[in-house]
């Protein structure tokens, strides 16, 4: 099934084996959110989960930190089987798995500082000084050192998501789960959020798993991606791979997007090689590129 398992087999930090999850709907019917599937995600990877709404991508993400208990199957993170852990062991294990959300989910009645300190305080083996140092470090990392004593209500959406990232990073996680992190943000804020996530992955070596309905986000951020449909894992691939190897419509659409991006970059490089005319042309192309909005799939096929 896996067309590209080389990278993930090298050193998986997340291993889902035959996991499945169904829910009982209010009318009593069963809804198969995730049908039995297996997935490995390599350490240091940025992995995208894409699919239409209701495809099970969010549920799959929430299986990784056991926010949803799988009906069957095994969930291994950093070599630890999570499904067999007791409550307090699971709480300890969750420190190694950060998570951010579409709606940020910050404590509204706590300052930025207290929000970031929250995960450190609930695992009571840090001194006050350690917590203070770590909170400042994490907020510096996301560029919010000047907002320590503010409440979330006065921050912009992008700033709130940065606080959420700082909070997720505070306990030094190995994995960062992102559930539609940019869906409540505008294009410009999304771009800078993606830069932050990229930097976290590169500099801290945190493995990132991201659920999104924005293909442009996957294209710009992820090295690997998996496509889900009706709870099935349709395919997974390297984002830089070729379009004709893709089985799903979404996969091909993503490939077209990547190709377009590469082509534009090449054109810019060619322009850069030229003289004054080349520089002018490059500027023209750059401004043109800025005008093209980040690609979001039409709602009809996606939302």
């Amino acid at each position: 099934m896996n067309t590209l398992s080389l990278a993930s087999d090298r050193c998986p930090v997340i291993e889902l084996a035959a996991v499945q999850k169904s829910f009982t709907l209010p009318d009593g019917a069963r809804f198969e959110a995730v049908r039995p599937l297996s997935l490995k995600i390599a350490r240091g990877d940025i992995f995208g989960l894409i699919g239409k709404s209701g495809a099970g991508k969010s549920t799959l993400l929430r299986l990784i930190n056991l926010l949803e208990q799988p009906d069957a199957g095994s969930v291994k993170v950093a070599g630890r089987e999570l499904t067999s852990l007791g409550r307090s062991e699971l709480r300890a294990a969750r420190q190694k798995i950060g998570m951010i959300f579409q709606q940020f989910n910050l404590l509204q009645n706590a300052t930025v500082y207290d929000n970031v300190a929250f995960p450190l305080r609930i695992h009571g083996r840090h001194t006050r000084a350690e917590i203070d140092a770590r909170v400042r470090e994490c907020l510096a990392l996301v560029g919010l050192s000047d907002k320590l004593e503010r409440y979330p209500a006065v921050l912009s959406g992008g700033q709130k998501q940065r606080v959420a990232i700082a909070r997720a990073l505070a306990p030094r996680p190995e994995v960062l789960l992102c559930d539609e992190p940019s869906s409540a943000l505008d294009a410009e804020t999304t771009r800078s959020l993606l830069q932050t996530l990229r930097a976290i992955n590169r500099d801290l070596g945190v493995t990132i798993v991201i659920v999104t309905h924005e293909l442009s986000v996957v294209d710009q951020l992820c090295s690997h991606a998996a496509v889900l449909e009706h709870g099935h894992l349709i395919e997974q691939f390297a984002v830089d791979g070729r379009a004709d190897e893709r089985r799903s419509a979404l996969g091909r659409e993503l490939a077209a997007l990547s190709e377009e991006r590469r082509w534009r970059a090449q054109r810019e490089d060619a322009a850069a090689a030229g003289s004054v005319a080349g520089v002018l042309r490059r500027r023209l192309i750059a401004s043109e590129a800025q005008q093209i909005p980040s690609t979001i799939l039409p709602r009809a096929s996606y939302a």
Partner: protein, 220 residues
């Protein structure tokens, strides 16, 4: 007429003290027992972390049952229990017993409803960070719902100010008792008006204080 007010003053002050004693005991019992009961009801509710339908329905039924008693009947029904707890069935301390029994489920229900206003995602984020149930209660639910909880307590205090007047009927004393004894039974309308005016002022102060505190605590 004015001299009757002055004659009444010591009794008025005494009655005021009785009222605050009844309210104080009732509200304290409500916070100590009704608060945790409300949190428990919330956590046992559908979709919450301790979701347990049979237990939720049992507790919920109990809360509804106590709340459905007309207060005066509850007070009389509880006389043996009151004697056991307070040693007597007369006076403000004795009246505080049925007041407490009525206030506990009242506040529990208010607390449960208030906690439902806390966004689900925030509780979920705390779970994802590895918080225990206890930590979620104190560091998430109480923190996020604190202004709502203050308003719930304000509603309770105002309702129980008037409940405490009913307690006067069976010898509880207090400001409401004064209104009934002098104003209602003896047709001293001015004294009745005075006590009612006093109750209006107290209610306004409670509500104003509650609103102000809730507003200060609300950073949303």
């Amino acid at each position: 007429m004015p001299e009757s007010f002055i004659d009444l003053l010591p009794e008025l002050v005494y009655a005021l003290g009785q009222t605050f004693l009844m309210l104080g005991v009732g509200l304290t019992a409500a916070i100590l027992f009704g608060g945790p009961l409300g949190v428990l009801l919330f956590l046992l509710g559908a979709g919450q972390s301790l979701a347990n339908r049979p237990l939720y329905l049992t507790l919920s039924w109990l809360v509804n049952t106590v709340r459905s008693f007309p207060f005066i009947i509850l007070m009389v029904a509880l006389v043996p229990f009151t004697r056991l707890v307070a040693g007597t069935s007369i006076g403000p301390l004795a009246a505080a017993v049925p007041l407490s029994v009525a206030a506990i489920p009242y506040l529990a229900r208010l607390v449960e409803q208030t906690l439902r206003e806390v966004p689900r995602g925030v509780i979920e984020a705390a779970h994802a960070m590895g918080a225990s149930e206890w930590q979620i209660v104190w560091r998430v639910l109480v923190l996020e719902a604190r202004s709502g909880l203050i308003l719930a307590l304000t509603v309770l205090a105002v309702s129980f100010l008037s409940y405490s007047a009913i307690a006067g009927v069976v010898g509880g004393g207090g400001i409401g008792d004064l209104a009934i004894r002098y104003g209602y039974y003896r047709f001293e309308t001015d004294i009745m008006l005075l006590t009612v005016a006093l109750l209006i002022v107290i209610v306004q102060i409670i509500q104003f204080g509650g609103n102000a505190l809730a507003h200060r605590l609300d950073k949303r």
